[in-house]
């Protein structure tokens, strides 16, 4: 199954490399340079997107406003916010209330591989080994608690 990803980001250089890295993982990726463009693509509905990567600080429409509109179009689509603006608790609160599925920090600690991994983990369900490992952990914990 091919998953479809939409990147809404005004920094074209950033979205270029993120898109390239995601494409290498087999995802279909489209990029929008601002919120309005992103919403237009969503409204057209040509492609059913599985996940949106959303920047917060963009011209015209701020990321949180875009998210509000996205939720009107599609309440369940996964949205991962990524930004190097992370301190503003008010904005974060608003985002959480609108429903975000992940938060990735850009800037000094930006890491392309972990960004791709986070997105992958949102889309691709756990593989068999990971599930076994988790179950094992869970059972060990229960056994420990019962002793």
């Amino acid at each position: 199954m091919i998953y479809n990803i939409l990147i809404i980001e005004d920094e074209t250089e950033t979205s270029k490399y993120l898109a390239l890295a995601l494409q290498r993982e087999g995802f279909y990726v489209e990029c929008a340079e601002n919120g309005e463009q992103g919403l237009e693509i969503l409204k057209k509905g040509k492609i059913e997107f599985d996940l949106i990567v959303l920047d917060l600080k963009m011209p015209k429409m701020f990321g949180d406003e875009v998210l509000k509109e996205i939720r009107k179009i599609s309440p369940y689509i996964q949205v991962v916010v990524y930004t190097n603006y992370g301190q503003d608790t008010q904005v974060l609160q608003k985002l959480i209330n609108l429903g975000i599925d992940g938060f990735i920090k850009k800037g000094a600690t930006a890491d392309l591989k972990s960004t791709v991994d986070i997105i992958k983990s949102k889309l691709i369900p756990m593989d068999e080994d990971a599930r076994k490992e988790l179950l094992n952990k869970f059972f060990t914990q229960i056994t420990l608690e019962n002793q």
């Binding site: 250089e13 950033t14 490399y17 600080k57 850009k106 890491d111 392309l112």
Partner: protein, 480 residues
């Protein structure tokens, strides 16, 4: 349940969704007891409030209230009316639909002269919440005298009305009225002082405030000499103002650091993504050879990003460097040069400019920094004039003018334009770093911050002229 419904406290417990109880209760209030004492009215109000906030009883209560108001003898002049208005304001309709409260308040304004002030402040409050003031505009145009009501409730709300109208003169006028009219009320004076700070006009009223607050100071103990007493008073008075300024400057610092972090964060992200992406690619290549064009592409992108960082460093350097190279230069010529640099945009927008230097010719200052100050102001003006021209069209003739003169301890340079001006609530913040009212991509919000820092370094200053309303006007002071 055989309790008497006339007992108000019992009624609270019995009401539930029992309409009959409510109706009979209201009827009793209306027919027999409408002169009930104040505390009973408050009970009545709290019952109404609880009935209105309960979705089961809401509709019936509201309907009944309408009926009740119609039948109540001389309702608008009764002492119930203000309570019902406050219930309407708080509990009836959602935040954006306060039509009941609005129509009741309007009716009170027209029918009950003694309760006008209460109704008007309620109406102003509602308009403030919905951020639309057409009810007030309508009321004021029919009845201009309403603007003259000077109770504290109304004056306080009027400040927000004039903020909405962007009328700083009126705001100042209200603050002045508060100081003069309520000189005996310390709390109101404190409110007025906070408001004056919020709207950046504290300095204008500083002396008035000092005088007004002085009246509340206890007489100095005998052991304290007069000098000491003055000191004590000054400390207390300045405490508020200083802590405000401190908060303002730490907020400005937070803005600055967050802004810098964001601006640098973008190119850093790009460089990191670029290198990380190419690392993956190169690692996957078998052997030691990699494509030359891929490497060159990678380098090119990194260089572009470092240039961006470099530009940002350049634009920040005047804030951090204190080096300056003063020289003596001809002011008129220099100003003319600054305008010449921007001639392309000035010409294409049809902006005319006027330079007047009166009583002196040369000035001593760091020329590069001075040009940075003037150029920044010119660019701001052009942006503002462009926006105004876009909205007004060809009938608008944009202009910028500079008037420089010698004053006792230095030089005064007044820089003004007839652009879109600066909104009342932006006025306090325009000198903060990364604060911009321009559309995205038009500016980093550093211009005025840099200007004010450059001038501070030379013991000069820049201030916005609050009284100027046909655009923006800055007053620059450069010491001799």
């Amino acid at each position: 349940m055989n309790k008497q419904t006339t007992n108000i406290l019992d009624f609270k417990y019995d009401s539930g969704n029992n309409k009959a109880n409510l109706f009979s209760f209201l009827n009793i209030v209306k027919n027999k007891n409408y002169n009930i004492k104040n505390e009973k009215i408050e009970d009545f109000v709290s019952i109404l409030a609880s009935l209105l906030s309960d979705s089961i009883t809401y509709v019936e209560t509201e309907k009944y209230l309408d009926l009740y108001i119609k039948e109540f003898p001389d309702f608008y002049n009764s002492n119930l009316v203000t309570y019902i208005l406050s219930v309407y304001e708080k509990y009836v309709g959602d935040a954006n639909d306060k039509s009941k409260a609005i129509s009741l308040a309007t009716n009170i304004v027209y029918n009950a002269p003694k309760k006008v002030s209460y109704a008007l402040s309620s109406l102003l409050r509602i308009c403030k919440t919905i951020n639309k003031y057409y009810y007030i505009d309508d009321l004021f145009s029919r009845n201009p005298d309403l603007k003259k009501i000077n109770t504290f409730d109304v004056l306080y709300e009027l400040i927000f009305y004039y903020q909405y109208k962007n009328d700083s003169d009126k705001i100042e006028h209200i603050i002045r009225t508060l100081i003069h009219g309520f000189s005996g009320n310390k709390q109101i004076l404190q409110t007025a002082r906070t408001l004056s700070i919020r709207y950046g006009v504290y300095e204008k009223f500083e002396d008035l405030f000092k005088d007004a607050f002085a009246k509340f100071e206890k007489k100095p103990p005998k052991s304290l000499k007069k000098g000491n007493y003055d000191e004590v008073f000054d400390t207390e008075n300045e405490l508020v103002v200083n802590s405000y300024e401190r908060a303002l400057s730490s907020a400005a610092l937070a803005d600055l650091t967050q802004g810098i972090a964001h601006e640098f964060g973008q190119p850093v992200t790009n460089i990191r993504y670029n290198i990380q992406f190419h690392t993956i690619i190169f690692e996957e290549e078998s052997g030691d050879k990699v494509s030359k064009s891929l490497v060159l592409n990678c380098f090119k992108d990194i260089l572009i990003q470092t240039e961006r960082i470099g530009n940002l460093v350049d634009s920040l350097s005047p804030i951090t460097s204190s080096k300056s190279m003063p020289s003596v230069f001809n002011l008129y010529k220099d100003l003319e040069e600054c305008f010449q640099q921007e001639r392309v945009r000035l010409k294409s927008l049809g902006i005319s400019y006027k330079i007047e230097v009166s009583g002196f010719e040369t000035i001593e200052f760091d020329k590069i920094q001075f040009n940075q100050i003037i150029t920044n102001l010119i660019i701001n003006s052009i942006d503002s004039l462009e926006e105004k021209k876009e909205s007004l069209g060809s009938g608008f003739t944009p202009n910028i003018s500079i008037f420089a003169r010698k004053i006792s301890n230095g030089y005064s340079i007044e820089f003004s334009d007839n652009g879109k001006g600066i909104k009342v609530d932006d006025k306090v913040r325009i000198f903060n770093p990364f604060y911009t009212t321009k559309p995205p991509g038009k500016g980093q919000g550093l211009g005025l911050y840099i200007i004010s820092n450059l001038l501070k370094m030379h013991s000069g200053s820049i201030k916005l002229d609050n009284n100027y309303s046909s655009g923006a006007k800055f007053k620059i002071f450069i010491p001799k």
